[in-house]
């Protein structure tokens, strides 16, 4: 469950302290003030909790708590009575995440974590917390309580729920802390040393949680042993002890981060919450499945900028759709069963919160749901449902009083009660001044006139058919004043004031000559109903069904897994059958049932989809043994020499459009590798191109052997880095170890040695059960290295020169390791037997060379030579673009060195499968293997070949026909959305023009921003014209 166990102890303590009101305070300056803190709010229309409306409610508050809520009840004697006739009362809103500054631990403090971004011992309460301005701002919006959380870092520290009253109004003159330790905030923050990548940040989080659990075990074991040497203090890890049951709140940059968080928390068996991004709607089902509860920001994606045809083209459908769908986020989350609360965090301007909620409501969120997400839900997600979020006995006396329904466009918040203290937000105007009045000016000429007063207290003097607008109208309490300057009254300005008394205006005026005269006015008619600003239409035109991934080439659902009968093609099986003319391929349930000559083909399964492939060529799906496609936020964790703990699988981005483009090149699986910045990089991932998955892990190839990236040579010794290059703390190139190939070998040797020691140490404790000694700390880096030694994880090593290849081969030999591949390995042809003996194979570039010193001896015949020597050879891309044309790369093995065509194609099909330990599953068209294949217009080794269709697991993820449909859909959707963006712009401009809306408060800042936008727009237009001073061609304006 995402929320912590409620702690009745803390709640009871709070109640006691609130009731006592006898805290120690500074001596008063003057008589001791007494505030009974006892109120009765009468006749209110109370929405006690979402869906529960109580008419004529009497709400009794005492000592900061709600004492009773009852319809029509009389006020208790002694309570101060507040008449809320006609008012709406709601529970005070609860802000579940309010980042604040908090002090960082001193450098010398005990138990400082080695990484300065890991500061779970920080506490939001240790700093200033909320500022007065922040409290006021939140109260104005109806908030009575907020969880304050330290800002910045990876483990940022502990949050606390506090009330948003002013300290001087609180018992003990200190803001009430509702609950300490509501959660630990975790952010995947990078930069300034380790971690420099998202996967590094995740690895650090994972290791730290393990360390905290391990330390807690040690502490417990030590407690049981009186003779034990005390453990050194470790405040950081102690703060994260699992026994404290403080949930983790993960700050997510997008919905994939949220899924990552869920995975980490589940692994560590920690309760967790997600601070969302506003993009959750892209994957609500996956989020629901993950069990994440989300604090949903009210930030909606902006509309892309569109000022010209060129910009319209630049706007991606993904961004356009996100802009349109953003406001449906909350509605979709709730519909999917995700528990969610609103937060004002991440809003550019917190003041927009109500406008944004209304927008969400127009996009299908019910008002009840909206209220819940602002009150009970945040309270419940933070385990505070007995204290906050509803108006009920024993709850904290946090209320919002409005002059209308909370979500109505023109309602205003009048009062906010926090901990039983009233804060006036807005004083309502006296009722009834608006209307027409018959005014008399005894002894003056004219002696009579009509006054029209509108709801904004704008005054118009009507003299016969002449209408004179007054100036300087002010309304204070019941006192109205205004100035009239018009010849009809005489030369000069007349200043009028009047007070509403018993339904009439009685007043006085000063004439230009200084003479005073009194006047009076009696009501002659009601206010005319004023035309309201047109309410923005409901978002009925927003499509309900979303594509996965959102945007261009997204799919409404995965392609069907039909039984297939493909006939007539030349089959390049890459298996023992070789190349089969007029072949037949039969697929059932995503597996190859038959691939071979027509003569021996079994009868096709009933209802199989028939594909006439006469004249076509069919190959196994292309397998790219070196890819960096779809790796989110950092391919390298290069800040340390060894980062075996980081995992590409943690950061797989299934929405990268390059997946689709690679499918269009016949690629069906890749080896997603960490970069080559350090000798031992991260763990790799063998991935199938299942485009459009909801859960990234669904792209993992089942049963694939785990891998890891190593790297040698110029990159890791930073030979080509400019001086001073590299993240701070990582050391300048000239100071960081290793700086030579000698040092690289040592880093590897030392790592293997450490891994062996680690394995031995762990083994000694296998089978030891509590209360035995605590086993050694789990170290995810050493664990991955130990897997290499155990033969469970394949090394894929970036390497070039023969000396470094040989050095690794011999070192691996010492440890009994057989490598997966030498990657790039452009000099592997010089040491073919050594390569063959030490690795499953070599994975090369077909013909790259001369881009740096260590590749100057690279030759395109390398593939052929290694192949001749019995090495399993693959050609890879290391590039999203080249990945689309790996069949052509294979063809170069025919050209350079005369490899037989069928063998050459294996360089990009079966051979990489062997190298990745997945040849039992993919790489060739053989019975029982996955139906991963591509259909080509010509021999796949022809430079004129075009991929016409690509199947993964028997599902057609790409075909020319489908691609045409995508294009038509993309074109139409883009057109619709671009028009919608432009229309929105028009409407905004029109609204901002001459006629300001008659009702509804206008956000001054919004106006300012609008004005700034207008200025910039003008400047841009001028700049554009200046540029086109040359003009013979006109920038095509968007139509």
């Amino acid at each position: 469950m995402p929320h912590p166990t409620p702690r009745p102890l803390a709640a009871a303590f709070l109640l006691a302290s609130a009731l006592s009101a006898q805290a120690v305070t500074a001596p008063p300056n003057g008589p001791r003030p007494v505030d009974p803190r006892w109120h009765a709010l009468m006749h209110a229309r109370l929405v006690a909790r979402p869906g529960t409306m109580i008419e004529d409610a009497t709400i009794v508050l005492r000592d900061g708590l709600v004492v009773s809520v009852e319809a029509g009840a009389a006020p208790p004697a002694g309570a101060r009575v507040h008449d809320l006739r006609g008012r709406f009362v709601y529970p005070g809103l609860v802000e579940p995440h309010l980042p604040v500054e908090a002090p960082r631990p001193e450098r010398a403090s005990p138990g400082l974590h080695w990484n300065e971004k890991v500061t779970p011992q920080r506490r939001a309460l240790d700093g200033e917390g909320t500022t007065k301005a922040l409290r006021e701002e939140l109260r104005r919006l109806g908030y009575g309580a907020a969880a304050i959380a330290p800002r910045g870092g990876i483990f940022r520290g502990e949050a606390a729920m506090v009330l948003l009253h002013e300290p001087e109004d609180a018992p003990g003159r200190r803001a009430t802390v509702v609950r300490e330790g509501v959660y630990h905030t975790v952010g995947f923050e990078t930069g300034g040393g380790y971690p420099s990548s998202l996967m590094g940040a995740i690895a650090l989080v994972r290791q730290t949680l393990l360390d905290a659990a391990w330390r807690a075990e040690c502490v417990a074991a030590q407690g049981a042993d009186p003779a034990a040497v005390p453990l050194p203090p470790d405040e950081a890890l102690a703060a994260l002890a699992p026994g404290r049951a403080v949930p983790l709140l993960f700050d997510a940059t997008d919905e994939l981060d949220a899924l990552r968080a869920a995975k980490i928390a589940k692994e560590a068996r920690r309760p967790f919450l997600v601070l969302g991004s506003g993009l959750e709607f892209r994957r609500v089902a996956a989020l629901a499945h993950s069990g994440a509860a989300v604090l949903v920001p009210l930030r909606f994606p902006r509309a892309p900028e569109i000022r010209s045809a060129a910009e319209a083209e630049l706007a991606t459908l993904r961004d356009l759709m996100a802009w349109e769908q953003g406001p449906t986020n909350a509605r979709r989350l709730l519909a999917a069963g995700v528990r969610a609360a609103f937060t004002t965090d991440k809003l550019e301007k917190r003041g927009e919160v109500h406008a944004q909620v209304r927008k969400a409501i127009r996009h299908g969120l019910s008002e009840e749901q909206a209220l819940g997400m602002l009150t009970v839900e945040p309270a419940r997600l933070l385990g505070l449902e007995g204290l906050l979020g509803e108006v009920a006995p024993k709850r904290l006396a946090n209320l919002v009083v409005c002059d209308g329904p909370l979500f109505a466009e023109d309602s205003q918040i009048l009062d906010v009660w926090v901990g039983g203290q009233r804060y006036v937000i807005h004083t309502p105007q006296p009722q009834g001044l608006a209307g027409t009045w018959a005014a008399e000016f005894p002894g003056r000429d004219p002696a009579r006139a009509d006054l029209e007063i509108n709801s904004k207290s704008r005054v118009t003097l009507v003299l016969g058919d002449k209408r004179v607008a007054a100036r300087g109208e002010t309304l204070r309490e019941t006192r109205l004043s205004f100035v009239v300057a018009d010849a009809a009254l005489g030369a000069g300005s007349f200043a009028f004031t009047a007070t509403l008394e018993a339904g009439a205006l009685l007043g006085e005026a000063v004439a230009p000559d200084g003479t005073r005269f009194s006047w009076r006015a009696a009501r002659s008619g009601d206010a005319k109903p004023e035309s309201r600003s047109s309410r923005p239409a409901d978002a009925a035109d927003v499509p309900q069904d979303l594509l996965l991934p959102l945007g261009a080439y997204g799919l409404p659902a995965p392609p069907p897994q039909d039984a297939l009968l493909l006939e007539g093609a030349t089959l390049w099986t890459s298996g023992p059958a070789g190349i089969v003319e007029d072949g037949v391929l039969i697929v059932e349930q995503g597996r190859v049932v038959y691939a071979g000559p027509r003569a021996q083909a079994p009868p096709p399964p009933a209802g199989a989809r028939r594909i006439d492939a006469r004249g076509k060529h069919v190959s196994p799906g292309i397998l790219d043994c070196h890819s960096h496609t779809g790796i989110a936020r950092g391919v390298n964790e290069g800040s340390h020499a060894v980062t075996a703990e980081v995992r590409i699988q943690d950061v797989l981005d299934p929405d990268d459009v390059h997946w689709y483009r690679e499918l269009a090149g016949g690629v069906t699986a890749v080896n997603q590798l960490h970069g080559s910045a350090n000798p031992i990089g991260g763990q790799s991932q063998t991935t199938k191109l299942r485009w459009g998955v909801a859960i990234p892990d669904a792209m993992h190839m089942e049963g694939a052997k785990p891998g890891i990236k190593f790297a040698l040579g110029e990159n890791v010794k930073r030979a080509n880095a400019p001086r001073g290059f590299g993240p701070p703390g990582a050391g300048a190139p000239e100071t960081r170890y290793p700086a030579t190939r000698m040092g690289v070998e040592v880093v590897l040797r030392a790592s293997f040695a450490a891994a062996r020691d680690y394995t031995l140490a762990r083994e000694r404790f296998s089978g030891v059960a509590p209360p035995g000694p605590v086993p050694p700390r789990r170290d995810l880096q050493l664990e991955a290295l130990a897997e290499i030694l155990a033969g469970e994880r394949l090394i894929h090593c970036h390497s070039y020169r023969q000396d470094e290849i040989l050095a690794l081969a011999r070192l691996a030999g010492e440890y009994g390791i057989r490598l997966g591949t030498y990657q790039h390995a452009l000099e592997a042809y010089k040491v073919a037997p050594e390569v063959k003996d030490s690795a499953l194979g070599a994975s090369l570039f077909s013909d790259w060379w001369a881009y740096k010193m260590e590749v100057f001896d690279a030759i395109p015949e390398a593939g052929a030579i290694l192949h001749e020597q019995g090495v399993v050879v693959s050609f890879n891309s290391d590039s999203d673009e080249l990945a689309r044309r790996l069949n052509g790369e294979a063809a170069k093995a025919v050209k350079y060195g005369g490899v037989a065509p069928a063998d050459a194609l294996r360089f990009v099909t079966l051979n990489p499968a062997i190298q990745l330990g997945v040849a039992g599953r993919v790489g060739s068209l053989e019975k029982g293997k996955d139906a991963d294949f591509a259909i080509w217009s010509a021999s796949p080794l022809s430079s004129y070949a075009r991929c016409e269709a690509t199947f993964v697991d028997g599902r057609e993820y790409f075909s020319l026909a489908q691609d045409r449909e995508h294009r038509a859909r993309i074109g139409a959707e883009r057109q619709r959305l671009v028009q919608k963006v432009l229309r929105g712009e028009e409407e905004r401009r029109a609204a901002h023009g001459d006629s300001r809306p008659a009702t509804g408060p206008r956000d001054a800042d919004e106006e300012e921003r609008e004005e700034a936008r207008r200025r910039v727009r003008l400047r841009m237009e001028r700049a554009l014209h200046a540029r086109l001073g040359y003009s013979c061609c006109r920038v095509e304006e968007v139509r």
Binding site: A552, R661, D847, A862, S942, Y1030
Partner: protein, 440 residues
């Protein structure tokens, strides 16, 4: 066919010392004796293929080309060497329109890189004088049939002047086809920054706007001040020489084209407007968005050198084959264009495959071949010497066992200006050498 002596051991030893980029492939001698290639399928490019054709070249120039056997008039000074090329194809040497071959030996070894001079405006430099005739890249490139290349300096706004070389010669002078092919301009990025984005604050938007305006102003000023200088010097020859401003002369006079590297629609529009206003002959280089302004390019007769087809579409929503189809789009629109490889300097040899991809996506094979031969020669201003098999042009040609745009096709012989090339290179010799290690 003339044989040649090649001491393999010596060569192997020599290749071992080539870490600094010293090429030791044997050089060809100038053509002494006439050569007639017979019984070949000739692909003149400017004309349809000639089956069973014969091609006669003499003193480095094509002397005659025709169907059937060429009879040499009696009384010729010497009997031509006749080479029977039954089953073989003859093409003009391929031309890499834009590259840096000869200017770089190893990309990340700075000492071997001579592509970009200091400063944003360096029209005074020309590529030719920095071409290293002994670069190992040259024999590797020509052994796949690429026999000539435009060499373009890089960097800044006006990086210098492009040259055209043939990929063989004892000195750069011998390699020279055109010393000054035209002035190169890298068009400044002119796409306005987003007004309001999460990332950019207003000041940065304004800075960016200012930067765009300034770079365009600087470009204008460079040409204006050069024009003024040239006029002044014409009027008063005692005025001191400004080598930099002199370099704008040929383009300002209209004698040379202006090569403008521009990719985005806005850049192309801006560059076309500039060139039209000043009356320059504009050749766009790169022009990834050319398909979005075909009318504009046609209206102003702007020529385009595409840089490769193996390029990712720059926009997320784009058709996956947007760039693959671009050549066909230009061809259909009737725009003068050619195809440069877009490859790194060391893989200029892959030029034919870039062209082949365009064929897979709608271009005719004939147009694809022309795009890497005659059209390239035309846009570089060297069509009088290169690009097609025509009498009077250089005997710069290749003999293949098939379509040179196909991966598997081999280049069997090649001549540059009548000089028979040795198609071995550092890479073939390394392959041979290490196969030695494995000989049983």
């Amino acid at each position: 066919m003339r044989g040649f002596r090649f001491v393999s051991l010596l060569a192997a030893a020599a290749f071992a010392h080539d870490a600094c980029g010293q090429d030791l492939t044997p050089r060809a001698a100038p053509q002494q004796r006439d050569v007639i290639l017979e019984n070949a399928t000739l692909h003149p490019v400017a004309l349809p293929p000639i089956e069973g054709g014969a091609l006669w070249f003499r003193a480095g120039r094509i002397h005659a080309i025709q169907r059937g056997r060429i009879e040499v008039p009696a009384g010729a000074a010497s009997e031509p060497e006749r080479i029977d090329l039954r089953g073989r194809h003859v093409y003009p040497g391929l031309i890499g329109a834009v590259s840096q071959v000869g200017l770089i030996e190893i990309d990340q070894v700075r000492a071997t890189v001579d592509t970009a001079e200091t400063g944003s405006f360096t029209p005074e430099v020309r590529a030719l004088v920095a071409v290293n005739p002994d670069s190992t890249v040259l024999p590797v490139t020509r052994s796949n049939g690429v026999l000539a290349s435009g060499v373009f300096p890089l960097g800044g706004v006006v990086p210098g002047r492009a040259s055209v070389i043939q990929l063989e010669g004892w000195t750069w002078e011998e390699m020279r086809v055109a010393d000054d092919a035209g002035l190169v301009v890298n068009w400044p990025g002119v796409r306005p920054p987003p007004r309001f984005s999460w990332a950019l604050d207003q000041r940065r938007v304004e800075d960016e706007e200012g930067r765009i305006r300034e770079s365009l102003r600087n470009l204008d000023e460079a040409f204006d001040s050069a024009q003024a200088y040239l006029a002044a010097r014409a009027a008063d020859p005692r005025l001191p020489v400004d080598v930099r401003k002199e370099a704008y002369g040929p383009t300002l006079r209209g004698a040379k084209p202006l090569f403008v590297r521009a990719q985005e629609v806005e850049q192309i529009q801006s560059a076309v407007a500039f060139a039209v206003r000043r009356g320059f002959r504009l050749v766009l280089v790169g022009a990834r968005d050319a398909g979005r302004c075909l009318d504009l390019l046609r209206r102003h007769e702007v020529a385009v050198i595409l840089e490769g087809t193996h390029v990712m579409p720059p926009r997320r929503d784009a058709d996956y084959d947007e760039i693959f189809r671009l050549p066909a789009a230009l061809e259909a629109a009737g725009i003068r264009w050619c195809l440069a490889s877009g490859e790194e300097f060391y893989n200029e040899r892959n030029l034919p495959y870039q062209a082949a991809t365009a064929v897979a996506f709608g271009l005719s094979k004939e147009a694809a071949l022309r795009a890497v031969t005659l059209s390239a020669a035309e846009l570089l201003g060297v069509a009088d010497r290169l690009g097609s098999l025509e009498a009077g042009k250089d005997a710069t040609l290749i003999v293949t066992n098939g379509d040179p745009l196909e991966y598997a096709t081999r280049i069997e012989h090649a001549w540059i200006a009548g000089r028979k090339l040795d198609l071995r290179n550092k890479q073939t010799e390394l392959a041979r050498r290490y196969r030695e290690r494995y000989r049983k």
